[in-house]
Symmetry: C2
DNA sequence: TTGAAAGCGCTAACAG
DNA sequence: CTGTTAGCGCTTTCAA
């Protein structure tokens, strides 16, 4: 009934369990004769080693715990993909859990992952709470935080240079002839949002253009839509020609608002986003935006974790990846 | 250095490891005194039981293996969400792997999951190959297949009644005054696509309307776009007023084609989809479509698996969930 | 109510 | 090259 064990294989092959173990792992020389018998027995019994037992004795679970806020958020999915693909290259498997932003649940999940003996953790929670970060810091398993909005510099992470990226986009807009640019910033105290804002401001200042911002309470299309009217008022009132959203979700929501209210993009207003989430290239008009390498965030993160596991060498706390401007259809050249 | 074990707790508490185990699991009466000492020790050492060891002896991993074609496909994500949320309710964790449609990899993953002692498997591969299904059938771990395009009736699954749903949508379109309706079908031999087509045809026949179909080699917006021109020719040539796509992805691609080629939806052509994937309600104009309960597919699937695990009672091979028509903006009332 | 001991399936000295 | 043995960290008889 229950699956065969190494013992069954040994018995059938007429050797000891050590020999079986040795051929399975190629860990020590085994005579061709014995090897053949073992291999035969394995095939005959359709034997599959119990990884749990192996993990127990090896003290290696080959598991990476991934905690996401919500797997349905498309950019998180991209990250998970990166994690999974390179994880598999190194024979690591993914234990996945969603926290839905519930901090107590998140803490429970982390503890739970410890009990499952994960060898590393990547936390994708958008806005990890200090308590949680603290938990992670005060233990020995390597971890990386992949937070799109908040990130604590003391923590291991992989990001782009948000400020530089925002500067580039602002320059891009200016290059297209825009001087009155509105910056729409996510959340109130999102650290990363602040960075983007800084970049925008620096460039505007350098050009002696008047900078104008509005902060929106959220990051999704819902909020972009909700604030549409308010944003539009500013646009009209101040003669804004381009709106630079700190998040694609917000931009898409605003695009929806425009569609529903008969404002033409980019004729009536140019809009730029930040992130290049999946929908941005699918939507019409296609969103011009800053591309963040989500897949690579994940890929690099596991790579760092695995390196730490293998070599136990301290990893640099932050890795900065390149970003780029993706020009599509929502920004008009008004030169 | 390494984390404390049950032995350490026992030593510190001055009791045997059995006693520690008993208080952890409430498995047998323990004197209040001993319990207190154990609890103290646990707290003092910040002891976390090793689930691997426990699983080994209990022969229960509390793991459900989930194999998806690609986690970045949005409806799959929804399913995974359902799996995860109800899984957690029963204390099951998700071991996630993507197959990217590679059948050899898929088989490897399945075997691998067996070695990890998963207690159940849910396979979300869009078009599981017979070989793979065969593997699943010839072993004892419960499994469920969640395939959107192909599904083998002999296999455990949870779906909607595709034919009925397509009938409803066709009736809906007719109710809006459309008589010349084009059905755009995914793939060549997708069984589920056939079902939808049947539903459409039955209704058209019943009304004595001429049915017209085209089969497209794919299911995503890419193909919907690619076939846009061909579809449009048919529309013009045959005076079609509404196009019913067997998949939302296809419909979105076609909507993009229309946008890029200055065809107005729904003024020039009405379009309906099937699935209600995430983008369908975000896109403008919003897509009128058939809603499939993706989250519930996943939720019901695990529930069935867990029931099988717990009660070892045979589960009905297919569960049919309700679907519904979501009326939005892409279908015009031409009555 | 408790502890000793066996064992889950496997790996890794150790001796031969 | 091979078998014996001692665990990995935990649960669970079995006696006491």
């Amino acid at each position: 009934m229950s699956s065969p064990t190494i013992k069954d294989v040994a018995r059938l092959a007429g050797v000891s369990i050590s020999t079986v173990s040795r051929v399975m792992n190629d860990s020590k020389p085994v005579s061709p004769e014995a090897r053949r018998k073992v291999l035969d027995a394995i095939k005959k019994l359709d034997f599959k080693p119990n990884e749990l037992a192996r993990s127990l004795v090896m003290r290696r679970s080959n598991l990476i715990g991934v905690i996401v806020k919500d797997i349905a958020i498309s950019y998180m999915t991209e990250m998970v993909r990166g994690i999974e693909e390179v994880g598999r290259m190194y024979n690591y498997d993914i234990l996945l859990s969603s926290s839905y932003g519930d901090i107590e649940l998140e803490k429970k999940i982390i503890n739970f992952m410890f009990t499952k003996q994960v060898e590393g953790i990547v936390l994708i929670s958008e806005d990890a709470k200090p308590e949680v970060v603290y938990m992670l810091q005060n233990q020995t398993i390597p971890y990386i935080q992949l937070d799109k909005f908040y990130n604590f510099n003391e923590t291991y992470s992989v990001t782009i240079n948000y400020k530089e990226a925002a500067k580039e986009m602002t320059e891009f807009l200016i290059g297209k002839g825009h001087e009155k640019i509105l910056f729409v910033k996510e959340y109130k105290n999102a650290i990363i949002g602040q960075e983007k804002l800084k970049g925008y401001k620096e460039v505007m200042d350098a050009h002696n253009y008047f900078s104008r911002e509005i902060t929106v309470d959220g990051v999704t299309d819902k909020e972009g839509y909700k604030y549409g009217e308010e944003i539009w008022k500013i646009i009209e009132h101040e003669g804004i020609t381009a709106a630079f959203f700190s998040e694609d979700g917000l931009a898409i929501g605003f695009l929806n608002y425009c569609y529903d209210n008969n404002k033409k993009v980019p004729d009536d207003i140019s809009v730029a986003g930040f992130g290049d989430i999946k929908i941005s290239s699918l939507y019409r008009p296609r969103l011009t935006t800053v591309r963040e390498p989500y897949y690579d965030y994940g890929a690099v993160a596991v790579r760092k974790i695995i390196k730490k596991i293998k070599d136990n060498v301290e990893i640099d706390s932050a890795t900065i990846l390149p970003s780029s401007i993706i020009e599509r259809e929502t920004v008009k050249d008004i030169n």
